[in-house]
Assembly symmetry: C2
Homo-oligomer: 360 residues x 2
């Protein structure tokens, strides 16, 4: 289907259904099963993906009818967005398709999760990402570096953004890279670390790009990184706290996430490397005095991650998990500040990058 | 004290203490009481503020000694930041001052709340805001409009930021406004609404500035709004969900917050107006079908706010609280999408602003 435009893909869907109706058939949608049982880790591409199991959604089937209606309603709302060349959000789409079925007290959608699921199904049916279907999630994050982009008619130089940076949009599909002059990208989970590196002009001195979110990265950020990685062959280094949640941020960037396994192709970035903070860094830079005890949730998460298919045979990561469990402690990246205000910019990062001290 | 620079104010503090020590006095800091009992709503300035009650912090007093040490340690860390002209974050300052007192197992600070409190005390002692003392919180938010600023040596045109906008730094004290060509500012709590208005070029059509956070506004955003309001006499309209939390965002912007009452002078913006979504809007634009039932926390919050000194004699707001309680429901701003993708940009906001349909 990918040779079609998103609009054509939706029209094909509609025409198929009309043809079925004209033949007096039960209108039926076919789509891959999206439950965990059909999520596979592809050893070759090193990405999570959807397996071969297919399912049907029929209009004349009491247990399918509502989902069928929701999928078609959402497809209609998306078609409208594409027709008027506007984008929207998951929340907005929910409100667009929510209505009471005449003569009943039944709502077409009760919860946003229902319209969200319909959008994810349409990603699979059409072969286009939600963003290409004009639906965005929340925007978040900042970027700076020697890069010039054209977006929405404006030419934007990421090197001239003062102390703020360019605010990353939720949808970066139409961002055009005009000039990319950088050796690598550091993606960090904390905006405060980004401000540290930006104030220290780290990206200028090191000729790199710095990208931050605030916590788990958004799809906008993931796509931006993915595009810079694939279109400009830039290595990406991930900088997080030394805790299971930081490692999971790396894991999602590299392998994809279970809930969005069907989108790994466009979102997962196989050559991402983990820069820190590692358990070895904690020892090397004497951060043990800033240990924070692991709680039960942390311990359970480490165990869960150590069992993930993509980590379970990875000796370097198993060693990290073991060290973290043994220390019974995690360390925040800000602990590096105890070594000096600009220690992270002047010593920690240049040393790590020079020595290629990465985890993969 | 405000005639001194932040550095001079810290030096004065240090010299005072040295003088006390040389006179064999018990080293003592004096500062206003910051508990709720000393937070006053000033009827004249319409801002929350700190009352007259003073307290002392003595070094030779077992119940004061640790707080005394923390205040001086943090003052030292801030002095260092100013000396090297770097900024830092609350979290970093915590790590900077945390150490074990030699020969004991006692830490100078155990929790970040302790160093945070010391910073707030130093705001009172020196008369300078945390930002002027080079300590920032998290950055958040985006801005677009016909405004050109100079920041960190870069000239930044907020009208040429594509779909992303300029990412607002955590500290806007050094942002210089070169050109401000706008009639008013809309501040919204939701980044998704900001993206809607930005995509629709609302700020260009209406000649205004659009600013968003994601939830409760940060101090960086509040100061940016405050500076645009006071230095460029721009009215500010607040756009949130129709719920007690949205109204509280407005309340904090206009009157200041209880926890930062001592900073209201530089942060509260008295001429802020509430644009929506009001309970009247819900009726006028027929959003009742998107009612979400109030939960117990919502109901308690409405009651609490209705009793606030600055709301309790305000008939317009009491009417809103009553309507919300009567409807037993709140409405999200995105419910406006049910009326059309660009209904908010094309109809709702232009109508409200043209009719000066604000709450104060």
């Amino acid at each position: 289907m990918a040779k079609q435009s998103p609009k054509e893909a939706l029209e094909t869907l509609g025409k198929d259904l009309v043809a079925q109706i004209k033949k007096d058939e039960n209108p039926t949608l076919q789509l891959p099963v999206r439950s965990l049982s059909n999520v596979k880790f592809d050893e070759k591409t090193k990405k999570l993906g959807i397996g071969q199991k297919m399912t049907e959604r029929q209009f004349f089937n009491v247990s399918h009818a509502k989902k069928f209606l929701q999928t078609i309603d959402v497809a209609g709302a998306i078609k409208e967005l594409i027709d008027v060349d506007k984008t929207s959000t998951l929340r907005d789409v929910f409100y667009r398709v929510k209505r009471t079925i005449p003569g009943t007290k039944t709502e077409t959608v009760d919860q946003q999760t229902e319209s969200d699921k319909a959008i994810e199904d349409l990603e699979l049916i059409t072969g286009f990402s939600r963003e290409k279907l004009h639906v965005n999630a929340n925007k978040m994050g900042s970027v700076a570096g020697n890069v010039t982009v054209v977006d929405a008619g404006d030419t934007i130089n990421w090197a001239k953004m003062g102390s703020g940076g360019w605010s990353i949009p939720s949808n970066v599909e139409n961002v055009e890279f005009k000039k990319v002059d950088a050796k690598y990208i550091i993606y960090m989970e904390k905006a405060a670390v980004w401000e540290r590196l930006n104030e220290d002009k780290f990206w200028k001195k090191q000729n790199c790009i710095i990208v931050s979110s605030q916590g788990q990265s958004t799809r906008g950020i993931r796509r931006l990184l993915q595009r810079l990685s694939s279109e400009h062959k830039l290595p990406i280094y991930v900088l997080t706290d030394n805790d299971p949640w930081g490692i999971y941020i790396y894991s999602v960037l590299k392998y994809g996430s279970i809930s969005l396994a069907h989108m790994s192709e466009g979102l997962a970035i196989s050559n991402v490397k983990y820069l820190g903070v590692t358990c070895d860094d904690v020892e090397k830079y004497q951060l043990q005095r800033h240990y924070i005890a692991l709680n039960d949730k942390d311990i359970a998460r480490i165990k869960q991650m150590a069992d993930y298919e993509w980590f379970k045979d990875n000796k370097a990561w198993q060693r990290q998990f073991k060290m973290m469990k043994k220390a019974k402690a995690k360390v925040e990246i800000q602990a590096l500040s105890a070594r000096g205000i600009t220690f992270i910019s002047d010593t920690y990062l240049p040393e790590k990058i020079k020595n290629k001290d990465f985890l993969e």
